[in-house]
Amino acid sequence: MAGATVLRTHNLSKRFKNRWAVRDLNLEVHAGDVFGFLGQNGAGKSTTIRMLLSLIRPTEGGVELFGHSLHRERTLALTSVGGIVEKPDFYLYLNAYRNLSIVGALNGGASRKRILEVLDLVGLGQRAFDKVKTYSHGMKQRLGIAQALLSDPKLVILDEPTSGLDPQGMREVRELIIHLSRDKGKTIFLSSHLLHEIEQVANRMAIINKGELVVQGEVTKLLDERETFVIVQGEPKRLIGEVLRSKALNLLAPQLPAGSKGRLQFTEKDGSFQISMPFSEIPRLNKELVRRGVRVHSLIPRRSLEEYFLSLTGQHGEVG
């Protein structure tokens, strides 16, 4: 069941000269959501986030945070919100503690204990009194998350928080997001162009393309509705081919969505089979293969969200 609405946009639009960067965007984020905000570079994600955090004035429409209009009640609306917009920048000639003191002062004050607590949370406790100019990119990114959490906000808006991080750093940030959501009860608004990132942490998502909302809803539901590419590996291969051509086809075809023309799409390459099928049908395919005596090594749903994203936006090529 959905929680109370903490963030809502009404026909949110921004025009720069003759170009609409964001057009008629209607988003709804509920309490407790990890809300993925997906889009390719230049799709309008950062412009949207800048409007959510009042860095940019909308040309049309508006933002409501916790029921308060950002335009009319800015201070009230932003009281329970923390965020990072694009790459986090700080006063490089000051240490992390001092930077957070400044941010704290703008939030009505933060105690020394609270500042050190959030620095510990992001693993910077030992470097609290080092100048930020000595920090690596990953450390600055973590300090960005620390400043977003400093006022213990109910809603945390994170714009590409794993940008520029190494795989280990990306995993740490993802784990932190999950921790904040599950253990601390925060609502997270997470923008990314890394589609698998959203898939791993978000329960709801919206996709934006060329400034316009393409789709919005629960991640699992949206994925279930669409075809997924599944790589089937097992032995004997001959038997896998037979299953896919005959029985499995008959078994699975009635479940396929209208767009799939009633039949399984599959190709064989280097001993692996790649099948286009509904995500929700994977267990049934597995069951059928095993029933027919196939030793299934793996069934890998591949780049499901990427394919989904591309199918929705009609774009092809590298998407992160």
């Binding site: 009042s54 860095l55 917009v85 986090p88 001092r98 941010v103 703008l106």
Partner: protein, 279 residues
């Protein structure tokens, strides 16, 4: 709340090395020039006074610390706006350049309060800078050359008794601070437009140069607008050393400079409050 914001704005400004560049330049210039003047031994002043000595008996040392402090202030006067703009121009544009607008303007505090805290910090810097210049140039000059009555050249020659000098310097530095606040607010205005810290300095100095040319070039065509140009009043601090002090001119200067300060400060706030932060 506003006091806390001012405290942190001041902290940001005064923990930045570039803030002290102006102070350092002033220290070096004062040390070098005043020491050079001591070495000269007042020869240039003696040449001026030689004709006087035929008609008057000059008692005591007129080539003293007060005289030198005033000369220093006079000679540095064109360069001080540059050093003021160096810091004032960085107040807003520096945040844009560093990307820290995104850090401070996403908080539950109005942009007006943030601007006000920056404006107050600019006033604190400007005041402390002008008074530091005054304090350092006077104290070093007095240590080096001692005190005494002060000679002032203005159309004629005026000798001010030493007891009458200190308060005149204080009043002169108050007026000088007022003048420099006009320059600081102008730099703040340009700072609100742009996203690099060099632009406001160049723009402020550009305006100063153009207005100075119009003010001091002896062309009648500019005469009607001169009373409205801030450059006509920037050096009115010198009026504090006249006897009697022409208070009407001083007050007119205060009013015109104050109008520029108000206009520039208000425009800077207006732009800052409505600015889309794209950096």
């Amino acid at each position: 709340m506003i006091l806390r914001l001012v405290y942190y704005e001041a902290l940001k400004t005064f923990l930045k090395k570039r803030t002290y560049l102006g102070f350092l330049i002033v220290i070096v210039v004062i040390l070098v020039v005043e020491y050079a003047m001591k070495l000269e031994g007042g020869r240039f002043l003696s040449r001026t006074l030689r004709s006087l000595e035929q008609d008057f008996i000059v008692v005591g040392n007129l080539f003293n610390g007060w005289f030198i402090a005033r000369e220093i202030m006079y000679s540095l006067w064109f360069h001080i706006p540059l050093l003021i703009a160096f810091v004032a121009g960085d107040q807003l544009a520096g945040e844009a350049t560093g990307g820290t607008y995104r850090l401070i303007l996403t908080r539950p505090v109005s942009r007006t309060r943030i601007f006000l805290s920056k404006w107050i910090t600019t006033v604190i810097y400007t005041t402390s800078f002008v008074f530091f210049l005054g304090f350092f140039s006077i104290s070093f000059a007095i240590i080096l050359l001692g005190g005494g009555d002060m000679i002032v050249f203005d159309r004629g020659i005026l000798i001010l008794p030493e007891a009458d000098v200190a308060w005149r310097f204080f009043a002169a530095y108050i007026f000088a601070t007022w003048s420099m606040l006009t320059m600081a607010n102008m730099a703040l205005l340009f700072s609100s437009f742009v996203e690099n810290a060099i632009g406001p300095i160049i723009a402020t100095m550009g305006v100063l140069i153009i207005f100075n040319i119009v003010t001091f070039l002896p062309l009648e065509v500019f005469a009607p607008i001169r009373p409205f140009l801030f450059t006509s009043y920037l050096n009115h601090w010198q009026k504090m050393f006249l006897d009697p002090i022409p208070w009407n001119e001083v007050l007119r200067g205060f009013a015109v400079l104050g109008s520029y300060t108000l206009a520039c400060g208000t425009a800077a706030w207006f732009i800052f409050d409505r600015k889309d932060i794209l950096s």
